[in-house]
Symmetry: C2
Subunit: 319 residues, 2 copies
């Protein structure tokens, strides 16, 4: 394993350890048992790792970075717990979603509590807590806007690529922007530097999400592919689906005409590959990763080595 991979792995372990050490009271059981459960899942801890790496590039105080990193992971989990209710998803991070293990009320309250704990953590920052809280809360609202667009887009067959990109920038990019930018804010960097970190994180987040769309289609074992095929036939929107619909409307309509067709997922995969949609989508992801690297280049006086390696890691991930 390269020393960079070891570093990432080390940060993940530390984040998981500190998440477990958060001093949750035992009671009320109704609140804290599902909170502990939700945070026990096997998340990739992608966002807190980005906070730490961006912090190292800025020589920021590690203890403050850990507070921000944990707050970001809590915010991410709060949105997942609530999104899983809204989207009726029953599994999350290798275990039952909170609303399916308990019920909707429990999951609503657990999400609210997780987010309040995130804000309490941030308010304990010794320096520039004010500016960090602003970034964090603005990112939260933007994530809510992204989820709102996602709900609006459900079953709307007129959605364009630009609308889809706006949605994923808000839903995923805004928080990655905040992860990359808050450590610079913490050390009192210039506005231009902070803006470039934000742009870097946003581009990385959009690239991450498009790459995720590709992995979902081409990286899945067949048994998962089956339900994905019918989800797509029934209106699930991804960048590739939008491209297929807008560029090859009639042919695409034939492919997904029967949600229960055997080999539906194979047909969809072949269609995307033959029509050049797969390669077009890959190029788009690459262009966002390139743009992330360019934003880093615009920041002088930092060590961008680890952040560039992190972009590589995201770009090449296969799970």
């Amino acid at each position: 394993m390269s020393s960079f991979n070891e570093l990432v792995s080390f940060i993940r372990t530390e984040v998981n350890r500190d998440l477990k050490r958060l001093p949750f009271p035992e009671r009320p059981v109704y609140l804290y048992e599902p909170i502990r459960f939700a945070l026990r899942g096997t998340g990739k801890r992608f966002r807190p790792i980005l906070v730490h790496l961006a912090g190292r590039a800025n020589n920021a105080d590690p203890d403050s970075l850990m507070k921000i990193a944990l707050a970001v992971e809590l915010l991410h989990n709060f949105t997942l717990v609530h999104d899983d209710i809204m989207d009726n998803d029953d599994m999350r991070h290798g275990q039952a979603a909170v609303h399916s293990k308990w019920d909707d009320s429990t999951a609503i309250l657990a999400g609210d509590g997780i987010y309040a704990i995130a804000q309490i953590l941030l308010s304990g920052l010794p320096d520039r807590a004010n500016a960090i809280c602003r970034s964090f809360s603005q990112a939260t609202l933007e994530v809510c806007e992204g989820q709102a667009l996602d709900k609006e887009f459900e079953n709307d067959l007129s959605i364009t690529e630009d609308q889809y990109l706006e949605m994923i920038e808000k839903k995923t990019g805004s928080l990655l922007g905040a992860c990359a930018e808050m450590p610079a804010t913490l050390v009192g960097a210039d506005k231009e530097v902070i803006d470039n970190f934000d742009k870097f994180g946003r581009a990385l987040g959009i690239g991450f999400q498009i790459h995720d769309d590709l992995l979902e289609i081409y990286g899945n074992p067949d048994d998962m592919g089956k339900s994905l095929g019918s989800d797509i036939a029934e209106g699930k929107q991804t960048l590739m689906v939008i491209k297929a619909r807008n560029q090859f409307g009639k042919e695409w309509g034939t492919i997904i005409a029967d949600p229960n067709a055997p080999n539906l997922m194979d047909m969809i995969r072949s269609f995307f590959t033959e029509k050049g949609i797969k390669s077009e989508t890959k190029s788009m992801a690459q262009s966002y990763f390139k743009s992330a690297r360019e934003s880093l280049e615009n920041i002088s006086d930092i060590n961008r080595d680890e952040l560039n390696k992190f972009v590589n890691l995201v770009e090449n991930r296969t799970y």
Copy 2:
């Protein structure tokens, strides 16, 4: 109208005006339309009024006070929007609850968005934003704990008065404590002063809630009394119900044996009056209002006149 009532009325108008002026974007419609709707209801604005009055006692900056007041009202509305889903309540502040006008997903997201906006407002405070954010977020978590206890207590016939009091302190008292304490925190008051303001607000909040239980039983027109009677027979917990169950178990059981009995609410009212439960409950509310006034007496160098008048107003309210 007394000049104090005019002051309260003036503050309420200003709070309502500034709530309407919050710069919500038009879109995503899925997020901002229900948020605007929820904030349009006819709330009493009890909490932001307390913030302003406690701020006047501390000679705090009115602009900062308004930010805190709005944040507190937003937090309160966020909890109402979510609680109405959990408790399946269809009406709120004279109009449909968000989840019943739209659906649960819309209401979950609207609540989340309202709370994020509250935090954004607070992060714009010019001074001591850090300490204010901490109080605010800790109060949020305690309100969640209170709601969790409330859910745990549903249909649990072993709940004691002390458990009920703990629940309403968390669910209502903690936020009123924060309303009273944050203005002192804003002006950099000593810890002892801040603690006394917090105690004042908590006692006021507990008294307010017990008074509310009384108003619900004795202040309701008959048509509302009908559903309340069957709610009580089916397990709704209030302080008076707990007293009746624990002091007069068998007789009380006979009273509520039939949730559909005609005159059920009249029978419950007479029972509470004849058994001395009504007067006992009134005394308890009074003792909390007294304790609130005593906490104020412990704070030197402030003008406590308006806050005492506010306690009177809460104590004598009939709606």
